[in-house]
Symmetry: C2
Subunit: 320 residues, 2 copies
């Protein structure tokens, strides 16, 4: 008898259901755009349940072969009850009992986890975290989130809010963050922060290549444009990335001092930009973390790429 | 049959051996000054072994009643092998196999832990951390150290360096820390940092009460003098404490964002100064941590006082 897992990834723009085995091999997969604009969690969940049934049927999965369903979703949420509280990317999901709804519909046990934690588990089991016991996983995209694997287990914190790495304070009087606080790492080193830094420098006239890539409109500049210009060797773009990455390095140095991990895994922009971002991060870590702590800690890019979302939902059933 | 524990606390100025039961009740205790000036770890350990034998004899402890020996000691050290690497307060202890030496001498199993971790365990079992599952313990004295209880277990990190809370960066271009880095929390909020801040403000002539308490010599000003003057209502002293405590609050807010604890316990100066320090800490936490995270987290002074050192060594045998 096979041992299978159904994974459901509820993203802001795209949702997917997969059928996989315990090794993370994806047997069947369906995916379609999420329509959060409908603001109707019941309809979205009904469709996800159908998608889950589709992959189970397509994969000829007998009910007793499926150990359970893993759902990766934006937080805040309660991983014990499986209630999801209005994630920024799913407006209108006020206290939705996702676990209960899907369990009732599929008659299978369901685990719900926020996407940063789920992706941390996936990178740990299948990606850049393999073999390590203490892993810090960070996203570096629209936001800076994170997940902590400590002593070989996911650490969730008291009410599922551990790992909010992007909202540590790096500059006490720094720029306002989307969260309402000042000087958060996310306000200094996320994709939007990189884009803003590039745009704000326009008045100094040092942004020509970035602006050209962005199609000539300053308001359209994104972090992706900055990364592209930096890869072409544009000194201004390189400098913008270096500044953001230095803040990122300070934040990572703090994590190294506090958590003494053996691996720090950075996703998204660090993967796309490679050494243009990882280099300044490592130099800042050298300055702001102890040799004795950083010498046992590797700083590496995330390894799973496009597979991360699928494997995140699967990984919830591999824990322990 | 009783179940007893021998605890040994190796301090920089004072060492103690205690015999206790599983409830933390101290049955016998001997204590004497440490003489690290001898720089002879063998002699110090020989004397500690004698002290351990003394408390066992005085308490009529049969060998099979004693579960083990707990040793609390300054780090860095390796808790697995029990080797201690030259702690700042025990100069000359280069790679001393403390666990092995004491095990061989007493024929009892020995656990060695750094004092911050051991005290965190003690506060969790017997003090201000009772009943909580996720606890951050911080000292606020000569240094700012810490210990982390996460998911109901001591979290040590990859090479026993987790919880170096005092060496997170609060001000990237801040004052030089004793550790060699810049802008560490310890350089901004420890006892010596408070004393330095008071001394450095002398040129503005706003230090009279503190200076009087210190006996008129600026170089003699300590954090204890600042706390005393603040308790008397001296506005300058109150302001110095408030500045240090604000940095402390930012550091604690970072811990709350990263670890989502349910209790933060602060020792030493926070205990002596009470609300003069805890008040500004709580205000900074309110500014720099999310409501959702801080609402589940109590910030409290340490509860064990003078009993902390004895119970720290005992607590090593109560884990799990």
């Amino acid at each position: 008898m096979r041992r299978l897992i159904v994974g459901i990834d509820i993203g802001g723009t795209k949702s997917a259901a997969v059928l996989a085995d315990m090794s993370g091999e994806i047997i069947k997969r369906v995916s379609e755009p999420t329509r959060p604009s409908e603001r109707d969690s019941a309809a979205v969940l009904k469709r996800l349940v159908e998608m889950a049934r589709e992959v189970m049927e397509a994969g000829n999965a007998a009910r007793d072969e499926v150990m359970g369903v893993g759902i990766s979703c934006g937080g805040p949420l309660d991983s014990k009850t499986g209630v999801v509280y209005s994630p920024p990317n799913l407006p209108g999901w006020e206290a939705t009992p996702v676990k209960q709804i899907v369990e009732d519909a599929l008659c299978l046990p369901v685990r719900v986890e926020n996407d940063a934690n789920a992706t941390a588990l996936a990178e740990w089991r299948f990606g850049a975290g393999q073999g390590a016991r203490n892993v810090v996983f960070l996203t570096m995209g629209t936001g800076i989130g994170g997940g902590l694997i400590l002593d070989g287990r996911l650490y969730r914190g008291t009410n599922d809010l551990a790992g909010e790495i992007g909202h540590q304070t790096i500059l006490m009087s720094g720029p306002l963050c989307g969260c309402g606080k000042r000087g958060c790492l996310e306000a200094l080193a996320s994709g939007p922060a990189i884009a803003r830094l590039a745009r704000d420098s326009m008045m100094y006239g040092r942004h020509k290549r970035v602006l050209a890539i962005a199609g000539g409109k300053p308001a359209d500049i994104t972090a992706a444009h900055v990364v592209q210009a930096a890869k072409e060797g544009d000194p201004f773009a390189v400098q913008v990335l270096e500044e953001a990455a230095t803040y990122m390095g300070v934040g990572i140095a703090n994590l190294i001092q506090i958590l003494n991990p053996e691996r720090v895994i950075i996703g998204t922009i660090a993967v796309h930009a490679g050494e243009l971002v990882l280099g300044p991060i490592r130099r800042a870590v050298e300055e702001y973390a102890w040799e004795r702590s950083r010498s046992v800690c590797e700083i590496v890019p995330a390894a799973l790429g496009d597979r991360a979302q699928d494997l995140a939902a699967i990984a919830l059933w591999l824990e322990e």
